[in-house]
């Protein structure tokens, strides 16, 4: 304690239990925050309220039977989860996906990125205290994307659309025109949305310079995705380790310098624009042909191990599969983007106020389904 602090009133830290039942912990996250008045001096995250043991369950399921479970990991971007898992199994079994299947995968994965960022940005504003307006504007557009997915695979959230070696069903004939009609709507909306919130004084005051994550710390913690890119790490698996057919498209990787909450918001908005760009190229190029390789429903991949990672909307989502040649994986490990991205939360929030704690936590964009698995 310095002398100046001794002169002021004695305060006593107290512990505030935020979550698991709390309006803005994005599910059932729990933090034991040690507060000094309003200032957060320390937090200790507590996990496990949504732990369903998917890694263990997967050891008793066939390779195809695991796909519905991957939907339930990051329930805001199931298509990306499906994609990552299928890539890992395909790598293991050496399956080649037909052209049309690849294009359908890219289109759905990018639409999923748009839908996920809609929630991420909207929920971040909600955590900042905006009374649902930015959230609902985003949801309005996410709903349209979900509607398209509904047409594709019959459900709005748990798609179970991709299969090992392709996708489960072909595109309906009205799908691509609908996407083509949706993209200009979304572009117009994004312009309007930036006009709406980007300069809002209160939002700028709340987000600029708040919750700074330095580049070194981000790398050290293994942080990936928009959070890492906002800190100035120009790392995107779509470009650095192109999976599927991402090397055929032209797109930029938006990055920012400061690594504060504003940058995380801004990088996400820019990423949405880039996704629109990829989609615009992809829907023009979709070839005819088979959409699914001839893979039986029960497969026996050779013994061995494989790791496939994709750039999911939240960051690097990886699947590590060890096979012993049977119909079920011997070991199934998910690299949880959300859990690892939370790793720097403590460093980011210390010294900020309670309000910032919620806001910084919201700006990381996690899903508890993926954190606890």
């Amino acid at each position: 304690m310095t002398t100046t602090q001794e002169l002021t009133l004695k305060t006593e830290p107290f512990i505030l239990n935020i979550g698991p039942m709390h309006p803005s912990t994005h599910g059932v996250f729990r933090m034991r925050a040690t507060l000094d008045g309003e200032v957060v001096t320390d937090i200790e995250p507590v996990f496990g309220y949504l732990h369903r043991g998917i890694e263990k369950l997967a050891e008793e399921r066939t390779y195809t039977g695991i796909i519905p479970f991957t939907d339930r990991l990051d329930y805001l971007s199931p298509m990306s989860n499906n994609l990552g898992y299928c890539l890992a199994v395909e790598k293991l079994a050496g399956v080649k996906v037909p052209e049309r299947g690849e294009y359908i995968r890219i289109i759905t994965a990018e639409l999923q990125r748009l839908a996920n960022h809609c929630v991420a940005i909207g929920a971040m504003f909600n955590d900042a205290g905006a009374y649902f307006t930015p959230f609902l504007y985003m949801f309005r557009n996410r709903e349209k994307i979900y509607d398209l997915f509904d047409m594709l695979c019959g459900q709005r959230v748990t798609y179970n659309y991709m299969r090992i070696g392709g996708v489960s069903q072909d595109l309906p004939e009205e799908f691509l025109p609908a996407v083509a009609k949706f993209l200009p709507q979304l572009k117009k909306f994004l312009d309007e949305y930036e006009f709406f919130v980007k300069q809002n004084e209160v939002f700028v005051a709340r987000s600029k310079g708040v919750g700074i994550l330095s580049k070194e710390l981000a790398i050290n913690c293994g942080i990936s995705g928009p959070v890492a890119r906002a800190s100035g790490i120009k790392h995107d698996l779509r470009r650095d380790d192109p999976y599927s057919i991402y090397d055929r498209f032209e797109f930029d990787i938006p990055t920012a310098e400061n690594g504060d909450c504003f940058d995380r918001f801004y990088v996400r908005v820019q990423e949405m624009r880039q996704s629109v760009r990829i989609l615009e190229q992809a829907i023009k190029q979709v070839p005819d042909g088979p959409f699914r390789a001839n893979v039986p429903q029960v497969i026996h991949p050779p013994a061995g191990e494989s790791y496939a990672h994709i750039e999911s909307p939240k960051g690097e989502l990886g699947y590590y599969i060890v096979s012993d040649g049977s119909i079920a994986p011997y070991r199934f490990h998910i690299r949880p983007t959300s859990l690892i991205n939370l790793g720097a939360l403590r460093n980011m929030v210390r010294g900020w106020k309670v309000a910032d704690l919620i806001f910084i936590f919201g700006s990381i964009d996690i899903t508890m389904g993926e954190v606890d698995r």
Partner: protein, 147 residues
């Protein structure tokens, strides 16, 4: 494309630096002895030309006769990756040295492995269960666990 650092390429370098550390070198993975692991990782992270500064993930696999802990490191600068493995041959309180001092991101992943696989990490400051509650019987991801 993130290319693998061929094991043969790195093994000679590592054997020269840490004699006896490399147990076995597969095609895509390097099997490192448990007691040398932090030193090897530290070297891989800092050495010029390697700079494996990004820890992708840590996981563990139960092979009945031994536990295998898998580390995947990526070098963002050179866009290469390497997979390190280490084994512990005991089923009763297996332990590996921690990497939390080198990568902060290892913290919760090591806790997760401790929780679900029962491998303790020596030197980890806050090694307690992460998903399951204290007092849970056994470690569910072990192959011999049954409810």
């Amino acid at each position: 494309m993130t290319t693998a650092l061929a094991a043969t390429e790195i093994v000679s370098q590592l054997s020269a630096q840490f004699p006896g550390a490399v147990e076995e070198a597969g095609t895509d993975a390097v099997l490192v002895k448990g007691e040398h692991l932090p030193a090897v990782v530290e070297y891989l992270k800092t050495a010029a030309g390697l700079k494996f500064d990004y820890l992708n993930f840590i996981t563990a696999v139960d092979y009945y006769s031994y536990f295998e802990v898998v580390y995947r490191l990526t070098s963002l600068e050179f866009n290469r990756y390497i997979v390190l493995k280490t084994r512990c041959y005991t089923r009763n309180k297996p332990s590996v040295l921690t990497l939390t001092g080198i990568y902060q991101g290892a913290d919760w992943q090591e806790r997760e492995i401790y929780d679900l696989m029962g491998i303790s990490f020596k030197g980890h400051k806050n090694l307690k269960r992460i998903f399951l509650w204290e007092g849970f019987d056994g470690h569910p991801l072990r192959k011999d666990w049954n409810r």
